[in-house]
Assembly symmetry: C2
């Protein structure tokens, strides 16, 4: 390797250490920081972020890159660590240097105010309090999109979405989501109009929080999260944080009832965590050693949450342990009750409480609105009506007010337009990966019933985690499954599972 390349990578490792440190500050803020610490934590994070920004936009990167990109030894094999590093450093550098400093500062100011206003407005269920802030967020996103630019056959939304997922664009997403919407609406109608809903009675039982913690921790350990390189703590909004593959921090939340919520949340974050723990340790601090992006990350969390945690085989193993951990409190409920309770489908207003099927209708609505916002065709004032009419049409529910409607999510208040589709793409990737894994591993449901999760985790390790960022999302999907991303495996998964459960 050339000396220039080594300098570039050393610089990148320093930047990565700062990002890892910001990750730890973020984790600490949500789990350990005393309330008074908030006064200065924002300032502290802003200072560290400004150091990261200086490192990420250093003109030396451009000089190093220019030299390395003409070095045939470094780039001849596009899947080599050096080629992947150069490709990703180039992408990030070009993007990071496209925004003028004044716009970056303006975004920070506007989103800081917008987030505070959103919290107040949501509490008051008053969209008028949030509207001017949302309009500024939309305007600033359009301004940013213009700085970033987009392909000739693309549109403004693409420039924003690129910040969350390399290569994601509206036409591609629409190509996947369009047919999916019709199938989801039809399948939801089929289940709810003709089927008999399984019982959710398990989630009415109140169970002690400390026993729930022991139970979900046991499950996360059994499925393969490595606690010698990780932790599990409580946070209001669960996330997977930490600093690198040797130190991954899960969080979860508990209610006295709703055991399957705590378990699903924990398995979801453990899925993220096992991806992080499975990244190539010899490439820490290099882009080649990072996760592919948000969609593939979400595929790992949803695979464990939905394909494993909501399967019959899983509950054949985990069900009999309910009595062991909760004793009489669980009132004799077992695996069948849990399997039923975590597979109830219903039309609902709130995305984060939605089931495995209708969830994606929530996402599709947000994607449609964001695309219009980015084009300048939907202003803040018209968002509630556009939202409510789609909830009526796609989900069949009437939105009572903006708190349970277009102000329910934090994303727009934080300035994020283009993020939501990664959630649904994640579910589709999860289903396609899972189908391939089943074809290659045999009867995984029977393995789950025996508490054997290692074959599946190993398969994910070898086929996805260990590759780091070698391939981008779509290319990884083809590399692993032999096919382009499609909604078919996902529909096969939910239809195959839910029709029998609903007696259809």
């Amino acid at each position: 390797m050339s000396q220039t390349y080594d300098q570039l990578i050393a610089h990148q490792q320093k930047l990565s250490a700062v990002h890892a440190t910001m990750g730890l500050l973020g984790w600490d803020q949500e789990t350990m920081m005393p309330p008074g610490g908030l006064v200065y934590r924002g300032e502290q994070l802003a200072q560290v972020a400004s150091i990261a920004h200086e490192l990420a936009t250093s003109p030396r990167i451009a000089e190093w890159l220019a030299e390395c990109e003409s070095d045939i030894d470094l780039i001849s094999d596009p899947t080599s660590g050096s080629a992947v590093n150069l490709r990703e450093i180039r992408r990030d550098y070009d993007r990071n240097t496209k925004l003028p400093a004044e716009l970056v500062a303006e975004v920070a100011r506007v989103t800081s105010a917008a987030k505070a206003a959103w919290q107040q407005a949501r509490k008051a269920d008053d969209f008028g309090m949030f509207e001017p802030h949302l309009q500024k967020v939309i305007d600033l996103n359009i301004a940013q999109a213009e700085c970033y630019g987009w392909a000739e056959d693309g549109e403004a939304w693409d420039a924003l979405a690129e910040g969350y997922e390399a290569g994601m664009n509206a036409a591609y997403v629409q190509g996947v989501f369009g047919p999916l919407r019709q199938r989801l609406v039809a399948f939801t109608n089929e289940l709810l109009d003709n089927g008999a809903a399984p019982s959710a009675k398990l989630n009415d039982i109140k169970l002690p929080i400390d026993a729930q913690m022991r139970y979900v921790r046991m499950v996360s350990e059994q499925i393969g999260f490595d606690y010698s390189r990780g932790r599990l703590d409580v946070a209001a909004h669960p996330f997977c944080g930490g600093t690198h593959c040797h130190d991954v921090r899960l969080t979860t939340r508990f209610h006295e009832d709703m055991l399957t919520d705590a378990l699903g949340s924990t398995m979801h974050e453990a899925g993220h965590g096992m991806y992080e723990q499975g990244l190539p340790a010899d490439k820490i601090g290099q882009p080649a050693g990072d996760a592919v992006g948000l969609s593939i990350h979400e595929s790992q969390s949803r695979l464990w949450e939905n394909h494993v945690g909501r399967s019959r085989g899983f509950w054949q193993w985990a069900g009999p342990k309910l009595g062991e951990y909760f004793g009489d409190a669980v009132a004799g409920a077992g695996g069948d009750d849990a399997y039923a309770a975590c597979n109830v489908v219903q039309r609902s207003l709130i995305r984060v409480e939605a089931d495995e099927v209708t969830y994606h209708l929530h996402i599709l609505i947000r994607f449609e609105l964001e695309r219009l916002m980015a084009r300048g065709e939907l202003g803040a004032a018209d968002v509630p009506e556009a939202w409510n009419s789609r909830y009526h049409d796609y989900l069949g529910v009437e939105v009572p007010g903006p708190a349970a409607g277009c102000m329910q999510d934090i994303h727009w208040s934080m300035g994020s337009i283009g993020y939501f589709p990664t959630y649904t793409l994640g579910s589709l990737y999860a289903a396609q990966f899972y189908e391939t894994a089943c074809n290659q591993l045999g009867d995984v449901d029977a393995m789950f019933a025996r508490g054997e999760f290692t074959p599946l985790r190993r398969w994910l390790n070898e086929n996805i985690h260990a590759l780091g960022k070698t391939y981008r999302s779509e290319a990884l999907c083809e590399h692993v499954t032999g096919s382009k991303l499609s909604a078919d495996p996902f529909m096969r998964h939910v239809e195959g599972k839910l029709r029998p459960l609903y007696g259809l």
Copy 2:
């Protein structure tokens, strides 16, 4: 204020945010990090430290300083925030830029190896394994001292000690420690030869760790540590960490027996913590808002640990609560038993287990040896003999081997020569501050007996904490007490308390 000054302070606040972040990484490593995290944490800390070093040695600081130091508005009042900031930034900048980068890197390499070797050698009780490393540490300290330089009437040790306490030098320390040694030896002999030792039986009782945690937390809250801006966790070697005055993290440790050890440790760290919480919040990130230095910091921890936590008044309040927290387990022991148990004096081998009196003989020995090391008059090979003969002469104990002798402390393996005296100076400052507080506040012992610690904490807040770094240690002592530092208040304190306890 001039624009140049504002730029200098903004730069300093960025540096301070990085230091605060390193503080949090350090705290996390000792309390929360999963064991596997260690693999990369050292690298992460080194990267962040290198960013801090770049910021601290930026040539722009020299330019800004030169301009500000000739601005009469900024420096006319030496106790103004601007004058204090300029004084301290100048001191740090000059010191930080004096070591060549190769020497800094060599120190990092040598101390990393020395620390590992020390751990092995101490376990094996084999000085030979550590000796070559200690010799390198001594040689590198001498090389560093030569880079830093020292006053014409000073010596090499001064240049090293300056790194731990601004203005500390061997002649000054010797002037205080010389007479102290004779008085300590004489007083120890008086107590142990003629007195009757109080009973330590309370510390034989085994008490549940969770009840101990509740008890020491209650005490730390009552004496004034603010948990809305702080935490208390467990660590193998207790310390006070965190990031700034709004977020202070105490740690403590527990044994099943030895309640007074856990309590003393907690009150000690809470003393550090209350100092941090009392620093001027409007000067976060500026030197003027920082603690004075290690000696004054130690004065605050030892004041609460020894002058409060080992007083009769304190135990008149805390004693009756023993039954409340420990029930029958405490076997009817009360305040008198605790007061006795935490005031036993004995000749011993291990510094960190030593009592309030003999502790300082341990420190004096280390200071004498370090002074010789820095002069090049004591090589590593001769350290055990020099150590053992002083333990025989001053403490009257025979050292059985190096693990319980000259290898008991981590400091030298970490490259720290010149640190130890700050512990004893801290005790002397504590006694002198405390005597002044008693003169001004009246019968504080009676207040303690009623659980009233606020008057003392407020007095410390107003007279010491809120001043930040306005005065250096010696000047602060004169400002607060009206006198130069002396060993007299400390000797009055221990003699006045222990003679009656020993029936003398």
